[in-house]
Symmetry: C2
Subunit: 317 residues, 2 copies
DNA sequence: TTGAAAGCGCTACCAA
DNA sequence: TTGGTAGCGCTTTCAA
């Protein structure tokens, strides 16, 4: 023992895994790190995984590649679990992972039909919250800026927003397609919105980076946020709190989501028979900062209408 | 073969590594991901490592922990190489890594005395470039905002800046200690600077996030950038290019740095006898955007004084 | 309590 | 070219 210590001996965990059949490695697959939301997630994930005595094998999907192209390489490492964030995997691929014995869980995305466990912010509820907030602050010409249209994150936020708007009898003023979750996409979409004959009085962007881009575009057009146009984002990335933006947004409960995801991996369960293929939806929270202004007169004093029965929500203007 | 394929057989790369003595895993150690500069580095690193057919084992240092506490855990995985970014390792620890057979290279930091290979932006040259730029645009009361004072990144930028300023016969107006590379630290430091009796006419921040925080603070004090105070950052993170900031800064050549670092790992060399314990310093580039204004009269038309002999650089004001 | 041996999934080597 | 065997560093099991 003393000898081993003085020689700097370290047991070879790789050899051990051969016999124990557990590598203590969990793979994390991500599309990219350019959206500030992703590093936040990755950081928490790493913290959680490491503190459970496991290591994180990071797998970034190269631009233009699909996740199904790179998963096989991952599978060779016989990782204990695979966590796929912000990317959609085919259910065929998920099945093949399961066949290899690696539980898979999706993060921040889910596959509607398939039986793949996932944890995700409740984006529909989030979208509805934004609609409520804009309504209760007297906005009547809300616009929405999409990212990638058929990604669940984007779609659910849109659907929640549109649906609640309809219940509230306010019609959508415009729907611009940004095309991707990026500052540039938000900037361009907002610029197009601002060039229209009639301005929206508020814009809900599919994500914070897009909203920040939008604010930059609105200001570049010599308009003020929120006096001329209110802006709402989604995620609550650090930049959203900076003095130049002070963005009102929906905060994703990252810690809880990460906790849930790691739990869903089933790593702590000694015997995992059948992990419940459940999709967990976690509630976001409206963070009111300074990009939404109260418009019009005679509005409800209490801006929060979430708990009010829909029938009573009659606009007084 | 057909049978193997239809059964979805994947060779166990972990078992293979036992005999080949190469895991094809390279470990990347990082302090945190909150500074936007780090995700950029990580993304490039991942891209590079993966395209060489290797995997990236990510290791985040938990807050309050020292890297030497967590390295032993890493060593157990017998990774092919260890890349340590933005954190300083004791030379004793580096020696122990080398003893385990894993080459170590430092990224974005170096240990002055020790024989540990490193790749790093030439921060002294960068600091000098900023001094030149501020001088040639007519600034006479430059201030510097430090992050963590004894980190090489911070210290070299400061030394380069101070040194060149002295050569140029312009005296430093103020030196504030921010304490860390963060938006908040930059904000607070700038606020203190702005409360002084005499304002600096320009501030060089140790990093971009700090500079952004500084701009926010300057604006919060009802001052304009650059009309009242010019601002220069370091890194060229994506935010620096956004319309609200348009930060003039020194761009770190991340791709080149990553290339060099991966090469220094010596993974491609079939037989590595003795990796040269060299410290690579890579040149940054001044990116002129809109946070530096030309002040005063009678200045040189050409803003670039780098190639001029020092003796001729006589201020005409 | 201690020690020896088998075997995890693979590659390397040597013999046929 | 093909097939068989030893052994990588560990854990587990079983015998002493």
């Amino acid at each position: 023992m003393k000898a081993a210590d003085s020689l700097g001996y370290q047991p070879n965990i790789i050899a051990r895994s051969l016999i124990t059949r557990r590598t203590n490695i969990v793979a994390v697959v991500m599309a990219n790190l350019t959206d500030p939301f992703h590093p936040q997630v990755l950081e928490q994930l790493a913290q959680r995984i490491q503190s459970s005595g496991r290591q994180l094998l990071l797998f970034l999907i190269p631009p233009g590649k699909h996740i199904d192209d790179v998963l096989p390489a991952l599978l060779q490492y016989k990782v204990d679990a695979i966590l796929i964030t912000s990317a959609t995997v085919s259910s065929r691929m998920a099945a093949s992972c399961a066949a290899q014995g690696s539980p898979v869980v999706l993060f921040n995305r889910y596959v509607p039909g398939a039986r793949i466990p996932a944890v995700c912010c409740d984006n529909i509820a989030g979208g509805r919250t934004v609609a409520n907030h804009l309504w209760s602050t007297g906005h009547v010409r809300p616009a929405f800026v999409s990212a990638e249209v058929d990604v669940t994150t984007n779609r659910d936020r849109a659907h929640g927003f549109f649906g609640r708007l309809e219940e509230l009898c306010v019609s959508l003023h415009a729907h611009e397609i940004g095309g991707e979750f990026s500052h540039g996409a938000g900037y361009d979409a907002a610029r197009r919105l601002v060039q229209r004959r009639q301005l929206p009085d508020s814009i809900f962007f599919a994500s914070d980076v897009m909203a920040i881009g939008g604010i930059d575009a609105i200001r570049a057009a010599n308009l003020r946020v929120p006096e001329d146009i209110s802006v709402v984002g989604y995620d609550d990335i650090p930049v959203a709190g900076w003095a130049s933006y002070e963005l009102t947004t929906i905060r994703q409960p990252i810690s809880q989501m990460v906790d849930t995801a790691v739990a869903a991996l089933g790593l702590d369960a000694l015997k995992i028979k059948k992990p419940p293929n459940k999709i967990h939806f976690m509630e976001g929270a409206l963070i009111e900062r300074k990009t939404v202004v109260r418009r019009g007169y005679g509005l409800r004093a209490n801006g929060d209408v979430r708990n009010s029965p829909v029938g009573q929500l009659v606009r007084k203007s």
